[in-house]
């Protein structure tokens, strides 16, 4: 993402500033960029800075400064002491991990078969997948809750995971990736006597690592950031996911120190941010290939 354009036909290999355009235009561009940066990341940075403030410093009001005078990690220690953050994290991780496992297993299998011609009923399955994507979650959540209730999974993390254990969109993403595998390679593998499972496992899955990563990241983020469905299913605090715990922290009558809530939110963003930085390239690809699909 960060590679600057290398002017091929010039003698100099490192581009000079004037290669990028007129100075005035450049200044305007960078001013605008910094302005947008201020708007988009500013609130999040402010959150981080405030979480580092000491107990004596104002977070709000006219006396509050932007930069903490006595930066300290006290708030982070306290939030772990006073709030069951580890429980929240464990619960969120549990849902995220089993979601990733089931989504990956089932969407690769289904996507693989869907990418193959030559079996009856393929069209029917396709229609089913498409139909299931038509209904916004919010318009079926009442019924979903009734199902989860009938299964006895209210206030249970399994109930949070179950309705989304496999998503049609991920099946479509995997199918598209498998379609891109050249037929000739498979024919060769077939001649070598590789069975269906072997070809899937050793030929198709490794070829589709990009799509697998996309599915993994999307699943992780949507499970980690989800709020409405856990809010409906979960009741007791021992079962709360991180987003529920944070929202509860803010609205609770205990009147927690704002620094603690800010520290909690910073903690909740870190895993996603780390994942994003590591997998940035595939991430953007996921977004843009999603654009083609939708």
């Amino acid at each position: 993402m960060t590679t600057a354009p290398v002017p091929v036909k010039r003698r100099r290999l490192t581009p000079r500033w004037r290669d990028y355009g007129r100075p005035r235009e450049l200044v305007v561009r960078y001013v605008l960029l910094v302005f947008v940066l201020f708007i988009t990341v500013g609130p999040l940075i402010w959150q981080v800075l405030s979480s580092l403030k000491g107990a004596g410093e104002d977070v709000f009001g006219s006396g509050a400064s932007l930069i903490p005078h006595h930066p300290t990690l006290r708030a982070y220690e306290q939030v772990f002491d006073q709030v069951p953050v580890w429980t929240y994290i464990r619960n969120s991780l549990f849902v995220a991990v089993i979601s990733i496992a089931s989504q990956l297993a089932f969407s690769t299998m289904a996507g693989y078969m869907l990418s193959k011609p030559g079996w009856k009923g393929r069209g029917l399955v396709w229609v089913l997948l498409m139909a299931s994507m038509m209904f916004p979650f919010e318009s079926i959540m009442v019924s979903l809750f009734l199902s989860v209730r009938d299964l006895g999974l209210v206030d249970n993390l399994v109930g949070v995971w179950l309705p989304g254990f496999v998503a049609a969109i991920n099946v479509l993403i995997m199918r598209a990736a498998f379609l891109a595998v050249p037929r000739e390679i498979e024919d060769a593998a077939m001649l070598d006597g590789a069975g269906e499972w072997k070809r899937f496992r050793h030929l198709y899955l490794p070829s589709a690592y990009g799509a697998i990563l996309v599915v993994t990241i999307n699943t992780f983020i949507s499970a980690w950031d989800d709020f409405l469905w856990p809010l409906i299913v979960l009741r007791s605090e021992e079962q709360f996911t991180l987003t529920l715990g944070l929202a509860r922290l803010q609205t609770s009558s205990f009147g927690y120190d704002q620094r603690l809530v800010m520290a909690g939110s910073v903690i909740s963003v870190i895993p996603v941010l780390v994942l994003f930085v590591i997998t940035q390239r595939w991430f953007y690809r996921g977004v843009s290939s999603g654009a083609v699909k939708l």
């Binding site: 561009r29 396709w126 209904f135 009734l146 843009s288 654009a291």
Partner: protein, 346 residues
Amino acid sequence: MTQRSALDKAPVPAPPGAGAPRPGASPAPPPPGPLRRALRSVTPGPAADAGGAALYRRWWLPWLWMLPAIIGTTVFGVFPFLNTILVSFTDAKPLGGAYDLVGLDNYRRMLSDADFWLATRNSLLYALIVVPLMVLLPLLLAILVEKNLPGIGFFRSAFYTPVLASSVVVGLSWQWLLSDQGLVNTWLQKAHIIRDAIPFLSDSWLILLSAMGLTLWKGLGWYMIFYLAALGNVPKELHEAAAVDGAGAVRRFWHVTVPGVRTSMMLVGTLTGIGSLRVFTEIYMLGGSTGGPGGADRTLPFYIRDVGLDPLTGNAGYGAAVSVALFALTLGLTLLAQRLTKEDEA
């Protein structure tokens, strides 16, 4: 790498819906029956039997592979919708117990329910205000970061971070920014623009507007990436030719860029329209668990949760009826968008 090459490498599937049988896929099949024709029109790629059904001697093998996905999409995708319609004719309680068929009572109640109409108004207003801004602002942003300047990768990634944070976290952040003692009010007061704090979080209109701002702010980065891919497909020569003809930046934007990414704009409009009808967390975080003072800022999903899923007072039957209304609105919006897209192409 640039956006475009990332896209080029990505597997591009046949867009669903545009599934007319590919020319030359199979030599003139016998005239298909209506069901088969309907199926074929949505089936991707060559006709299902073009590859020869004999590939799989055990006919059930593909079904075995598909089974989890079929169960998942049926039990937790299609069935819940049908069930929602059924439940909407009953007075089922969210926690179970006996229930009765009540016919159209829930729908009758809905039509005369002022709170339902308020929620509908809020949701529609949300779409009305958010959609045009969400179609335009990320496009401008994408144009700003399109040029490969030094450090542009950093800016692109930074603009994307709000997308990664959960709505709860960004909601908390905005809550603190907009509270009476918050940063925005403090700064405005220091600059002597206002004397008294603006009640962003206690006035029902301001809560709704703030929530819209939050939705926009969180969505900017996502649709920016969306548009970046599309901008790569606008021919550079057009821009150059227009510039030679003396067209300024604004004219080039309206006459070259916008026509070039029209399809993407339509798509973004459709997606954000559907997304606006789904808003819940923003209202919950800024307006509190009541959804604004007296519930004045509740959107349809919020209202469904309130009336349908409250363990004590909830009526799942009524919640289901409101859900059907929400689905009808979503469907209406999708069809409208499809129609507009078609007219636009014609």
